[in-house]
Amino acid sequence: MSYLKRSPWVIHYDGTSCNGCDIEVLASLAPRYDLERLGVINTGNPKHADIFLITGSMNDQNREVVQNIYEQMPDPKVVVAIGICATSGGIFSECYNVLGGVNKVLPVDIYVPGCAARPESIIDGVEKALKILEDKKHKLVAMGLGTEILAIEPANIEDAAEILALQKLAYQSEAELYNDFAFPPLMQTLSELKEDFKTIIFFKAVMNGIIIGSVRGYVKDDTCYIYRRIVHPIYQNLGIGKKLMNEIEFHFGFASRFEVFTGHKSKRNINFYERLGYRMFKCEKVNDKRHRVYMEKFADRI
């Protein structure tokens, strides 16, 4: 059995808010509600934390802070957004500097409603977060042991909605990186995506009946264009992206040249493609915020 449930250590961050929820989080740790009886410790140190409690909305300044805290937390970890501000921006949502809820920056696992969220509901949220924490642990272990079977197969038009949802989730971090929330993958609508299915081949990575990754591509003039390789944030760094790439390259094995592109700041993507044998050949400006790096690979190099 897993002990994650018995000893959840939290870290608490307050974004743009009225401090109402902030105080309620502390109230739930104080004697009257005493979260510590469930083993909760307020650590104040991301490296010791399992649960990230965020109150208040995100703005341009705290975005980086929140991202930084999240990245310093060791896996498995969960994010709990507390209060309406953290859920959607709440009363601050129309401020010029407010981006919206926490989900604009991080993948949120639990939303606790309320303005202010009451300590009872915060405790309930933490309880629910514990279940997710265990699930994530099981997934990590299962992936490590290879007991969960990953299937890579062609996708069809019925998968469009699921792939679109995944695409929006997976591209959050990219949009975040460039501070460009009008990113085409985020703006795509379901009907546009369905239209794509007529001309483009889609592959999906399925685990336990759920699509956790996808990639698409087409061939034109003997060149295979591969793009939008997406993997669910929980399953990143587990080699799924590489399996998707291998599958689609194999499928279009008749093409003599393969081409991919990514953003100039996405160092991890560039490294990833370089490991797969791609080389950079041009860089193009898309808009003020973003350049596109094109990478290619020739078939005889495979």
């Binding site: 994650l4 083993g39 104040g44 399992d50 060791p74």
Partner: protein
């Protein structure tokens, strides 16, 4: 053979006792604050959870130091509980602490470095008193061997009340409790995040916790030397001193490092050295 049994008993039982002690400590603290508090076995859950977590490291060598911290604490404890030389125990314990401090420095985050610096200051503060305690015990029993010290027929604190007081004064440093939880504390987020352990996570943090369990039992054993002639009364008095430390922990705020250093030296000089000078004339 007897030595062998006590070594095995220490290595296997000390972490359990230490963890239960820490659990009881948290429970009592919670009750003192009007809370329900976590279950007694909470420290076990914490460590078992930490074993399940990913271990993030800044530099690989930081974990190396933590491993040596654990090994030397266990080594010191076995020396102590197998009745070896008290001075050797003290020096081995210092060495173990130094490994921990080096680990804190190696992690090179501002918080862990501040924690390590403060740990060094605390060592400067408590080390004289610990050595004076050993000297006092030697003067009474004419031996540094723990087997001889515990077989002395009268309780040592009859002769060493001042040293016992000084020793209790510096105990919060060893247990990292208020008012001397400068280097590493569960309660000082705003000030130093988590002090020396800031950059440790997962397995290495679990190792540090386990080492602290061993260390706490060792320190309580040291306190027990003052009452060693009767085991039952000795254990009872030692535990009540631990309870006293918990009360102090909950009553006092954290002091500045100058205060910690100065006050423990003054207490050490007045009560520790005073006690020894007194003994010198009485026992002559």
């Amino acid at each position: 053979m007897k030595i062998f049994i006590s070594i095995i008993a220490y290595i296997t039982l000390a972490p359990f006792l230490g963890a239960i002690l820490a659990g009881v400590d948290r429970k009592i603290t919670a009750r003192m604050q009007g809370r329900v508090g976590p279950p007694i076995l909470q420290p076990f859950y914490d460590v078992l959870k930490l074993m399940e977590k990913e271990s993030l490291v800044v530099r690989k060598s930081q974990n190396f130091y933590v491993v040596f911290f654990l090994i030397f604490i266990i080594f010191t404890g076995t020396l102590f509980f197998s009745g070896k030389d008290l001075l050797l125990v003290i020096f081995a314990l210092t060495l173990a602490e130094i490994f921990f401090v080096l680990g804190g420095y190696k992690a090179s985050s501002p918080y862990s470095i501040i924690g390590s610096q403060r740990a060094l200051i605390q060592m400067m503060a408590y080390e004289p008193i610990i050595i004076l305690a050993a000297v006092g015990m030697y003067m009474v029993t004419k031996s540094f061997y723990i087997t001889d010290i515990i077989s002395y027929d009268k309780p040592l604190f009859y002769f060493l009340p001042g040293l016992l007081f000084a020793f209790i004064y510096i105990l919060p440093m060893k247990f990292s409790k208020s008012p001397f939880d400068l280097a590493y504390s569960h309660h000082a987020h705003q000030e130093l995040v988590k002090g020396m352990t800031t950059e440790f996570s997962g397995r290495s943090l679990a190792m540090i916790e386990v080492a602290h369990w061993y260390e706490n039992i060792l320190m309580l054993g040291f306190v027990g030397l003052f009452f060693a002639n009767n085991i039952l009364i000795g254990v009872a008095l030692t535990l009540s001193i631990y309870f006293l430390i918990i009360i102090i922990d909950n009553t006092f705020a954290r002091v500045k490092w100058e205060m910690a250093l100065m006050s423990s030296w003054i207490v050490g000089l007045l009560f520790g050295l005073g006690n020894i000078i007194f003994l010198f004339f009485v026992l002559r």
